[in-house]
Symmetry: C2
Subunit: 319 residues, 2 copies
């Protein structure tokens, strides 16, 4: 009902309470109550004696109503769950995926209280970022699940390029700006050997977050689009661009295989042809990052000419 009232408000200059009450089939008191609740959420709604209600300002929220107005995807984001605050969008997404949520379902949160990153780390998720999880159900074996992480990294990089932000992908899936992390991807999956049941793509983008929102030990490692560009970005627009790019890259992967994705990934990456140190489990391996294989594994060649392929681990670029 709140969403419908918003649509009417956005579609008219002024609309009277009586008019809304008739069109929605609810009492004028009910209309008034919904308008109050919208105001509490940050919508700037004026009421003028004979004219009625007027929407004068929209809060900076990833509100599904605002998203659906701009989103032009086929299925990505068809269903959106939006939360003011949540422990972790990935946890919520796994819960609804278990219950059968369709491919393309998106969980959004303004804040994550226990945002998670790779390797069991926490992910700082204050207000101003885009903290989201997308449910996918690709017909692929778990051995190829890495490919989806590459798909997502490509979609992020392509989106930021459309904003003239020269982001680069650090293997496997960190997005860096000037060497600092602005986006991370945490992919979780449930599968049997013959196929993935579902995959949850957790994406955290530091959009309008500010320097002082991060703990001191992260200040040299983390950045945001606002810190980089010096201005606030329209998060709804950015999200819609990302979902469009994600759908495109995902469909390229499904229809044409991983080849083109690898090309795109390589175009935007900052890992290959660099000396790297890879920590994987207890192992530390150093060498030249020479390529990624078709499953997304990083191939590193050491000084003796031996090469090793990594499917997980933490890469440090050594220039």
């Amino acid at each position: 009902m709140k969403d419908t009232i918003l649509k009417f408000l956005k579609g008219a200059d002024y609309i009277s309470g009586e008019d809304l009450s008739k069109r929605l089939g609810i009492s004028r008191t009910a209309v008034w109550k919904h308008v109050q609740s919208l105001k509490e959420q940050g919508y700037d709604i004026k009421s003028m004696p004979r004219k009625g209600y007027k929407l004068e300002g929209i809060p900076d929220l990833l509100d599904p109503v605002l998203i659906f107005e701009k989103l032009n995807t086929r299925f990505m984001g068809n269903k959106i769950y939006h939360h003011e605050a949540i422990t972790s969008t990935n946890n919520k997404a796994k819960e609804i995926a278990e219950a059968g949520a369709p491919e393309g379902t998106v969980v959004l949160a303004e804040k994550q209280l226990q945002g998670r990153g790779r390797l069991g780390r926490t992910w700082e998720s204050p207000a101003g970022g885009i903290w989201m999880s997308v449910i996918l159900r690709p017909n692929i074996p778990p051995a190829k699940a890495h490919n989806i992480t590459l798909v997502a990294a490509c979609a992020v990089a392509k989106t930021l390029r459309q904003y003239n932000i020269p982001a680069r992908i650090k293997w496997p899936n960190d997005i860096l700006l000037n060497g600092k992390k602005v986006c991370g991807i945490l992919t979780e999956l449930k599968a049997e050997m013959d196929g993935v049941h579902y995959l949850v793509l957790g994406i955290g983008m530091n959009v309008n977050t500010e320097k002082e929102m991060y703990p001191p030990e992260l200040k040299d490692k983390v950045s945001s689009l606002k810190i980089y560009t010096g201005q606030n970005l329209d998060r709804v627009e950015l999200l819609c661009s990302f979902l469009k790019n994600l759908e495109e890259q995902y469909e390229i992967f499904l229809n044409e295989g991983v080849g083109k994705i690898l090309e795109t990934w390589k175009q935007h990456n900052i890992t290959l042809n660099n000396h790297v140190q890879v920590r994987s489990g207890n192992e530390v391996y150093s060498g030249l990052a020479v390529n990624i294989d078709k499953n997304g594994g990083l191939i590193v060649k050491d000084e003796n000419g031996n090469s090793k392929t990594f499917y997980s681990g933490e890469v440090t670029l050594q220039g």
Copy 2:
């Protein structure tokens, strides 16, 4: 309590109800009730006026008490959940894995009511087989989860060889005898890209099942160890041998990598160097099975010399 009474009965020729009541700190009526319940489960327990109870026969059950007597593993099977009947041991295992069950935990059932096979098929699970699931928590990325299926197939093949049963592995994980399936493996997992959270190894072994237990359409495709050898096998002993072999192969994999596992798999396989047809999704591909790669993918070379690697699919051997 039942298990403790069983241990006392097995440890003595005769043991009196009074003795049991003292040792267990329960009333003689309680002892009598437990003995009745054991009898109902098929334990042949005689009671002689002044001598007491005597255990004369043990039912053919995968009873943890009997298993723990013979099991000599380090951790595989340390915790056993035994069910008379259950929908699916894999479902139960996933449930307890979610709740934190440790590596090596085993779920057993005398019968599965909704036993599942690969590719969404049902798995006939009448009384007489070994229907089990093992929880593993290897520190590997999902791209390598296939390796664990190879580990399990090797453990089954090795166990059957110890019984002089010349079982062969059909890629990826069916165990055949004279071309008919006697064992199947259904591996399910929950993971993120950097590591598997848990992996459930579902293993169905047609041990003492009889021809007439299978529907007509399966008669040419399915066999059992009893059908092959003409005699009943001791399921408890077979299970213990399997768990020992599984632990060994698993530790070889963890400590030395997949190399030795691939060697063992190749020794026992019936797929390589055969012409095969692979159905994977909508695709049907024919050619010579030339090798498996280090992630367990099957490499098939077609008549034009092109080769393709499969990580899932259904193989038909064409001789």
